[in-house]
Amino acid sequence: MLTLTLAAQTSPTLTVAPVPTVKAKKGTVATVTVRAALPPGFHANSNTPTDAYLIPLTMKWTGGPLQADGVTYPKADLEKYSFSDKPLSVVTGEFSITTKFKVPVDAPPGPSAENGTIRFQACNDRMCFAAKTVPVTISLNIE
């Protein structure tokens, strides 16, 4: 393998803040907000990129007792970058993704967890990084 000096060109990390335990009552709707942050100088495509080739921000719920019933993504910024003719729909810095969950009437009571992933593809003004998937876990207490 080649030994290359690629310092300062490493893929940015999406930091996801811990979500406080969610109390979910059977037969109701629970709203959960996940807060995430990108390092300064980086952006990720929003969930609705301006170009079909771009990889959107996505939140997927993959397992748990709840039923996801709609994800609300952060409001995108239209930012102009030196490498693009037109502004791009992006998220930067801190942002939130909110999900509404239906709590089934037959959900097992007590503590449990809902698992999901955030997929994002980040760039700075000179380079882009392969899309990454970050796991998200929410602690639940079903009543």
Binding site: M1, L2, T3, L4, L6, Q9, T10, S11, Y53, L54, I55, Y81, S82, F83, S84, L88, Q121, C123, D125, R126, M127, C128, F129, A130, A131
Partner: protein, 192 residues
């Protein structure tokens, strides 16, 4: 007393000269980054076998004797798309002198993503689909675009990570095209 004064004057002159020297050095621009690495510092470009859109296997070794611009890119990479028209121009301008561009797409979706882009932009150079093994061989390729300019002996003469100036590429290509193949061997014999 006179001797002491002479020593003091000499010391003063030396101090002023040293200070002037420091100031002069600090105001000099940093040395220009060389366009291409010296022969002795070039590493062999790892060979690979990757498929083009027709399914034909393409080896880097097929390009021996040519100067190659090896561009790792993806359709989802905005900065990569700035460079592609430059590379098309280089392909047209330098091909007759023994130069070729080889694009290695790192799109996870493969030809489904690449073909519409390559067709719409009418790319005039060959594109192959990259894989993790090749990415590892070339240092991991965490960031795109990552572009290698390879000399006629199959060695990496310049590496660019991220969007750079068009002139950085054209200067490197010009310089490598001027050097005949086997230049490294000649230099090695000279140093013996």
């Amino acid at each position: 007393m006179t001797r002491v004064r002479v020593y003091l004057r000499l010391a003063l002159i030396a101090t002023v000269a040293a200070l002037l020297g420091i100031v002069a050095c600090s105001q000099q621009p940093p040395p220009a980054k060389p366009v291409v690495k010296d022969n002795s510092k070039r590493q062999k470009a790892p060979d690979f076998a990757l498929k083009d859109s027709s399914g034909k296997l393409v080896h880097l070794a097929d390009y021996k004797g040519k100067v190659v611009l090896l561009d790792f890119w993806a359709t989802w990479c905005g900065p990569c798309k700035i460079e592609i028209p430059w590379f098309m121009q280089f392909e047209q301008e330098y091909r007759s002198r023994g130069f070729e561009v080889l694009g290695v797409s790192m799109d996870d979706d493969g030809w489904k993503a690449i073909t519409p882009y390559v067709t719409a932009r009418k790319l005039n150079y060959r594109v192959v689909l990259g894989d993790d093994k090749t990415a590892d061989q070339y240092g991991g390729l965490e960031a795109l675009p990552t572009t290698f300019v390879i000399d006629r002996d199959g060695r990496i003469a310049a590496t660019h990570v991220g969007l750079v100036n068009k002139k950085d590429f054209s200067d490197a290509i010009e310089k490598l095209l001027e050097a005949p193949a086997g230049d490294a061997d000649v230099n090695a014999r000279r140093s013996d």
